[in-house]
C-alpha cells in the first residue's frame, strides 16, 4: 500500500527539522527578507529612477505606478551566472512579489501561477491585476527567500532540493 506517512505529518516534520530552536527556517527567512532584501533593493531602484515603462527582459529594472500601485523591480545577479540570467526582486507597494522563470525565458508570479509572461514587468502588472482592492501581498514563502537563501542553504529549506 502506498499510502504511508501523511503529507501533513511530513510537512510538519520538515518544518520542525528546519526550525532548530522553535523558529522555522521559513520564519527566519521572512525576518531576513524584511531587512536584507528590502535594503538591498532600495539603492538599485533609487539609482535607476525615473524609468520609462515597458522594459524587456534585459531591461534591468523598472519603477512605475500601475493601477494605483507602485511596482518596482530590479534584476540581481546570481553568483556564477551572467547578469541576463539574474533573478528579479520585485515589490508591489513595497511588498515582495516572488517571480519565477520558465525554461522558455518567460516569467510567472506567486499571484498568477498557471501561465507566464514575456517579461518580468508584464508578469508584475498581471499580478497587480489580480490583487483585490485594499489588499497587499503577504510575504509568503517560498517568495524571494529562495533567491536570497539559495547560496547559503541550497537544498536545505525543504530538505528536498538536493
Amino acid at each position: 500500500m502506498v499510502v504511508g506517512a501523511g503529507g501533513v505529518a511530513v510537512g510538519a516534520d520538515q518544518q520542525a527539522a528546519a526550525g532548530g530552536r522553535g523558529v522555522s527556517r521559513r520564519e527566519a527567512a521572512r525576518a531576513l527578507l524584511g531587512t536584507g532584501a528590502a535594503l538591498a533593493l532600495a539603492p538599485v531602484v533609487a539609482a535607476s529612477r525615473p524609468l520609462p515603462t515597458g522594459h524587456g527582459p534585459g531591461g534591468g529594472s523598472f519603477d512605475e505606478t500601475y493601477r494605483g500601485r507602485r511596482i518596482q523591480g530590479a534584476q540581481v545577479p546570481i553568483a556564477g551566472r551572467r547578469k541576463a540570467e539574474g533573478d528579479w526582486e520585485v515589490t508591489v507597494d513595497g511588498h515582495p512579489l516572488h517571480l519565477m522563470r520558465r525554461a522558455d525565458g518567460t516569467w510567472l508570479s506567486m499571484v498568477d501561477h498557471y501561465g507566464s509572461y514575456p517579461t518580468a514587468l508584464e508578469a508584475t502588472r498581471a499580478a497587480v491585476d489580480q490583487i483585490g482592492p485594499g489588499q497587499q501581498l503577504r510575504d509568503l514563502a517560498p517568495g524571494p527567500v529562495v533567491g536570497e537563501m539559495a547560496g547559503h542553504h541550497r537544498g536545505g529549506r525543504h530538505g528536498v532540493r538536493a
Binding site: 501523511g6 501533513v8 498557471y114 501581498l137 509568503l140
Partner: protein, 288 residues
C-alpha cells in the same frame, strides 16, 4: 477493498454534506492549511535551479496523486465514508453548474472584490478564513470565466488530444515539452496568452481568484479538479497499455535535467514513494 471516487454531480445530498463537513473540520484543526503550504513549497519553475517534483515535470501526475491521497486520508479520518469527488469540466461547464452550488463549493465571487459570498466556504459563513494566502485577504476569491476578459474552459477535444498521445512525457521533461501526455495535460503551450493555456492550467485560470495563484489549494475545487486529472491518467494508462511513466531512468550527468526531475524509480519528495509505486492505485480507489 478499494473505495470509489465519484462525479460530484452524482453525489447525494448526504454525500455532499459529509464531504463539505469533513473539509471544514480539517480547516478547523489547522490541517488544511498545511496542505496549502506543502503545495506552495513544492512549486519550482523550470527556469530556476533545483529539483521540480510537482509542476513542469514528469512527476506532475504522481505528485498530485499522492497529494490527493493524503488529503483523502485526512478527510477519511474525520468521516470514513468520504472520498474526493471529481469535477468533469468537459460536462459541467456553466458558472452555476455543480460544483458551484450552495450545497457543495458555493458560487462565483462577487464583482467588486471577487469574494465568494455563497456556500460553506464563504468567509461570511464563518468557517473558511484564508491564512496561507498570496495576499492578506481573508476571504476565498473566484472569478469564474474571467469576467474582464472571458476565457472558456478547455474542451473535451482538447482533453482527448492529450489522452491520444501514447508517450507519457518527452524531452526536455519540462514546460516546453511539445509532445507527451503529461505536458499536454498539465497545459503549458508555446507562447503566451489564452491560446497557450491548456487543460490543467486553463481550468486554474478559468476559476481564477485563489485558484490562479500559488496558494490555489485554498479553493477546495483544487481537489475536484485534480481528481479529474488523476482519472485522466488512469484513462491514459488503459488506452496505452504498453506505455508507462517516463523517464525510466534519471538523466545522466551533463544533461540539463540531471538532478532536476524524478525518474520512475526515484523518490518523489516530500514522500518516501516513487512514481513507479504510484502507477497502480487500483487497490486503494477507483473512479465511478
Amino acid at each position: 477493498m478499494a473505495y470509489v471516487r465519484k462525479d460530484v454531480s452524482t453525489l447525494t445530498r448526504t454525500e455532499r454534506r459529509r464531504f463539505v463537513n469533513a473539509l471544514l473540520e480539517l480547516k478547523r484543526r489547522g490541517e488544511y492549511d498545511e496542505f496549502v503550504r506543502l503545495h506552495i513549497d513544492h512549486y519550482t519553475a523550470d527556469g530556476e535551479t533545483g529539483l521540480r517534483s510537482a509542476h513542469m515535470a514528469p512527476s506532475f501526475l504522481p505528485w498530485h496523486r499522492r497529494f490527493l491521497l493524503d488529503l483523502e486520508r485526512a478527510l477519511r479520518r474525520v468521516d470514513s465514508s468520504v472520498t474526493v469527488p471529481y469535477w468533469d469540466w468537459t460536462r459541467n461547464r456553466r458558472k452555476t453548474s455543480v460544483p458551484w452550488t450552495a450545497d457543495v463549493l458555493g458560487g462565483n465571487g462577487r464583482r467588486s472584490d471577487r469574494q465568494v459570498m455563497t456556500g460553506p466556504f464563504a468567509y461570511t459563513a464563518g468557517h473558511w478564513t484564508i491564512r496561507v494566502g498570496v495576499t492578506d485577504g481573508k476571504f476565498l476569491t473566484r472569478d469564474l470565466g474571467r469576467a474582464a476578459n472571458p476565457i472558456a474552459l478547455p474542451t473535451g477535444s482538447q482533453l482527448q488530444w492529450a489522452l491520444d498521445d501514447p508517450v507519457y512525457d518527452a524531452r526536455p521533461w519540462d514546460s516546453t515539452a511539445a509532445t507527451g501526455f503529461r505536458n499536454k495535460l498539465e497545459g503549458w503551450g508555446p507562447g503566451s496568452g489564452s491560446a497557450s493555456w491548456r487543460n490543467h492550467n486553463r481550468v486554474h485560470r478559468w476559476v481564477g481568484g485563489a485558484m490562479l495563484g500559488g496558494a490555489s489549494v485554498n479553493d477546495p475545487v483544487f481537489w475536484l479538479h485534480h481528481a479529474f486529472l488523476d482519472m485522466q491518467w488512469h484513462r491514459w494508462q488503459l488506452a496505452h497499455r504498453n506505455h508507462r511513466y517516463l523517464p525510466a531512468g534519471p538523466p545522466p550527468a551533463g544533461d540539463r535535467q540531471h538532478g532536476r526531475i524524478i525518474a520512475r524509480y526515484q523518490r518523489l519528495p516530500p514522500w518516501d514513494v516513487t512514481p513507479d509505486q504510484l502507477d497502480d492505485v487500483s487497490e486503494i480507489y477507483r473512479y465511478a
